[in-house]
Structures are given as C-alpha cells and as structure tokens.
C-alpha cells in the first residue's frame, strides 16, 4: 500500500474538521464540534470513523491516558494533490500509457521492491 486510500464523503467531512482544528484532537472534541453544527453523532460512530481513518493512513493517534489523540498525517493540500495524482495514475495506467513516453511506465514500485532492487543493483 503505497498510496493513501480514497476517503469516503463522511470520512472527508471528518478530516475537514480535523484540518481546521489545531491538532491533536480527541473524539470528544470532535463530537462537540459536530454537535454545534447540529449533527448528532454517537460517540461510537465517531470513534469507528477515526480508527478507519487511521487504518487508511490519513491519521495518526497517540494514546494519552484513557483518551486517544488524533493528528492528521498530511495536510489538506497534500491530500488534494494525492487525489489528483491518483486520478492521473489511473488514467495513465488505463490508456494514456499508449500515447506518451515515461521513463518508468509501470505501476509505482513498493518500498519492498525498491529496497530489494537497490540492494541488487549495488551488488552489481
């Protein structure tokens, strides 16, 4: 998994809130923010989404006593960039490959492959 997984609309909404707060945030803080906006979320729902965002690589969390503190792993701009990058990659691998010449035209290499190949090349 070398790229961020696409976020769903709700996940993105949550991320937007986190980006506009000063990190790190806790799930209770987020619950209050949404409450003020008139959206009644259950504490359980929020923490489910937060842990999913961690899984997707968009958030990091640190355990602070009994509460989890969350911080974004990338800025809003970086996320937007990644998104367009993925659109572009998708187009490239789809058909555009056949109309341009890239120096490397395969799928992005994983870290695993990268390390392996660098080692192999340095032994040459």
């Amino acid at each position: 998994m070398n790229h961020v997984q696409k976020l769903s609309d709700t996940e993105l909404e949550l991320m937007e809130e986190i980006w506009s707060c000063t990190p790190p945030v806790t799930s209770t803080e987020l619950l209050n923010v949404f409450m003020q906006k008139g959206r009644e979320w259950k504490a359980q729902t929020i923490s489910t989404f937060l842990s999913r965002l961690v899984d997707k690589g968009a958030l990091t969390f640190t355990r602070n006593g009994r509460t989890n503190q969350y911080a974004p792993r990338l800025s809003r701009e970086e996320y937007k960039l990644l998104e367009t990058q993925q659109v572009l990659d998708g187009l490239y691998q789809g058909s555009v490959k056949n109309m341009i010449s890239a120096m490397y035209d395969g799928n992005k290499l994983s870290d695993q492959d990268m390390v392996e190949l660098k080692k192999w090349l340095s032994e040459k």
């Binding site: 187009l91 870290d111 040459k124």
Partner: protein, 489 residues
Amino acid sequence: MNVMLELLFTLTIAGSVASAAILLLRLVPAERFPAFWRYKLGKMAIVFYLLPVTIALPRISVISTLSEGSALLRDKAGLQMPNPLSLSNLLSITAKPILTVPKNAVIVLLALWAAGALLFAAWQLYGYIRFTVVLRRSQSAVAANSEAAERLAAVKADLGITSKVALASSPLLQSPMLVGFFNPTIYLPAASIDGLDWDMVIRHELIHLKRKDIWVKAASLGISALHWFNPLVHLLRQDLATWSELSCDEAVVKKMSRSERLRYGQTILNVSAGNQLLARRLPVQFGASLSGEGKKLKRRLNAMLHVKKHSKKTMILLLSTVMMVAAVSIIAAIWASSVTPAVADPGTGDPIKLTGLGEKDDNESNRDSSANLKHNTDITSVNDANANAIKDTTTSPDTNTNATNHQGPVSEPNTILPEPSSSPSAAEPIINEIAPSDDTMLVAEGSNSTIAAESPQPIIVPAPLPSESGKISENKLNVMEDSIRPSVE
C-alpha cells in the same frame, strides 16, 4: 462491402502472422535478440495491420500496364510488374476457395466491427485528453538556468535535434515523461528526487522523441482500435511498449561505461518509486520475492546492463529474421485475400458453401512459396525467366479474352492436364453451384479484387466463363475440390 471485408480479413491475417512471430520470438533469450530489432519487428507488424500490402500489389500492376504508353515506363513496368504477378501467381491466388456469407450477416459484422472500433478510439482519446488537461493544470515552468534546462540544450545539440522541445514540471509526477505529438514537452517531477542524473533523464526522453516513439505508440493504438476483436493486436501493443522502452535504454547506454550504466539504473529506480508522502512504513523484509512489477523492472535493468555491440554475423542473422517474418506475413496476407469469404446475395438464400476455381497441385505451390520466400523480401528482385515470360504475354498485341482463357491453363499445365476425367460424378454438384447465373456473379464478386484487377494480364484469370473453357474449369474444380476438402472439414 466485399472490398471492406477482404481488406479487414487480409490485414488481420497479415498482422496476426507477424505478431504471432514476434510473440514466438519471446522464447529467444533477450541477449540474443536485442530490443532494437524486436522493436523494429513490432513496427513492421503495425504496418501489416494498417496497410493493405497485398491488395495494393495487384492494383499497382494494373497501373503499370495502363501506363504502357512510354517506352521508359514500360521498361519500368517490366521490372516491377512481374513480381506482384508472380507473387500472386505462385501463391495460386488463382485458386480461389470461396466461402460465401449471407449479405445480412456481413452487414451486421461490419457494423459491429465499426462500433467497436469507434468506441475503443473514443475511450482512448477521452482518457488522453483528461490526462493532459489535469497535467497541464498542475504544471509549472522550469527555470532556464536550472540544471535540467541546461542539460536539455546540451543533449539536444548532442543528438542533433533541432525541433522545439518544451520543459515543464508537475508535482503530480514521479517519473519524467514526454507528452505531446506536435508540441512535445518533457515533464519532470516537481519534487526533488535523490539520485537523479538529469543528463540521462533528458537523453532518454529525447531519444524517444527522435525515434518518434510516441507516434509509434499512437499507431499501435490505432491498429488496436481497428482490430479490437483480435487479441494478438493487444498483445503486440504491450510488447511494443516494452520494446520501445528497452530499445531506448539500449541507445542511451550503448556507449556508457559500467559505472555510468549503474547510475542510469539508479536513476530509473528512483523515478519508479511510489509517492512517499503517505507510504506506510511497513518493516521491509530482506530476501522477500519481488512483485510482478519489480521483476519487470529488474529484467529491464539487467538488459540495460548487458547491452553490447553485436557482431556482423549476428546482424545478418537478425536482419534475415526480420525479412523472414515480413515474407511470411506477406504470404499469409496474399493467401488471406484469396480466401476471403464472398458476400452472397440474400436472394439466393444459400447457406455458407464452398466453391472453387482450380488449384495447383500441392507440390508445386509448396515449391513456389519457398521460392517466393527468397524473392519477395526485395520487391524489385525478380525471377528473370518469369519476368520475361510475363512481359512477353502482356505486350503481345493479340491478347484478348479467348487468349486469356487458353493461356490460363497453359501457365500451369501440370495441374489441369494430367487427370482430365477424375471422378466426374463428384465434380458435378460443384459445377452446378457455379454454373447458374446468380452464383456465377457470386464467384465473380468474391474474386473481384484480385481477378478483376489482374484481368488485363492474360496469365491469371481462370474465370469460370461458360464457353469452351468450361471444361477446363470443371477439371480444375476437381483438383481443387480434392485438395481443399481436408483443410476445410
């Protein structure tokens, strides 16, 4: 419509034979058969898929007969004409197993084909336009005093490229790429990547530019649209992309030392990484096996490291392989154009059936095709005797239709004369299929592009004319029917 069908059929066969040969060559180790030559073969296969080589040949011969006015032209024609003729003659185009297909079915098939081709092309074009729009929106200029810009000017001069090449950078890219057919731009990744050798990056892209690789790719896409139903085309397209990349590497590193090659390899490796922004740091295990993508890249790097100059002997071997493939493809195309299914009039309502008009015996045609293999690699090199014979007959003043009918069999006496009465009972049903008027039209239509085109030449054309030649046709039919049956059933 019939012409359309024949065209498509011939192109498909010729191209498929060429690409099948190329796919077979995958079995040959990479070091033995350098990428440059494989790429050449691939490009040749594109031509076969795209240009109706065989259909053009008889037409050309007609044109040259028509231009017999001036002596100079006639001399030229004498030189050029015989080959297409002997080509078709030797391969027994005259022998026409015709599979007739109902007209309606042909219309449906052609419509399906056209719809598929349009859809495929539209889809590719849509993707390309979206890609370039997104890329252009993200691009920023590259400073004129940057290292990349300076290298561009230097390498351009080195490679003798005078056309304008723009330089831009985009944060969306990891690998440098060359984009644009008419206003080529080299896009560089905006993020600074460690271990990049700009000279090598730019050289790689400029060699692509110089070789018009983007155009080759576009042509391969074009044939994929035309032949979308043929899986071999799509395999060929993938192969072409691979070989264009590998042969570009070859050209870049040809004169490089080992340490420079290693640096080039590192450059390629460094542009192949994914985006590091969000990469989750999984602990990397050593000794784990490479993914498919990783293996592919390893092969590429390995090939690049082992590029070497080839001896004259290998060159000749390689060249002859290319010519062999060309020859076989042309032969296949000629064969294909002679067996193209004919379009039946829906009025006759006859199902698919087989008719034929004479066939050489197997030995002869085999011998001829092997002789042909040698000859048709060079279109102008001709069997002299053959050329003279044809010249004589074409220029003789009293060529008329009767002469045509008599000379037809004369040119292939072995076939027709030996067994004039072999199994007449078996022959009769077939003759009946040809003799009625609507079916005669059918046969004529099926053979129009070859027989009609060649009819000014008296040698070919054993057309089923009703008069005295009828007997000969019958006998030819017999032979034909016998030799064709096993292959059909």
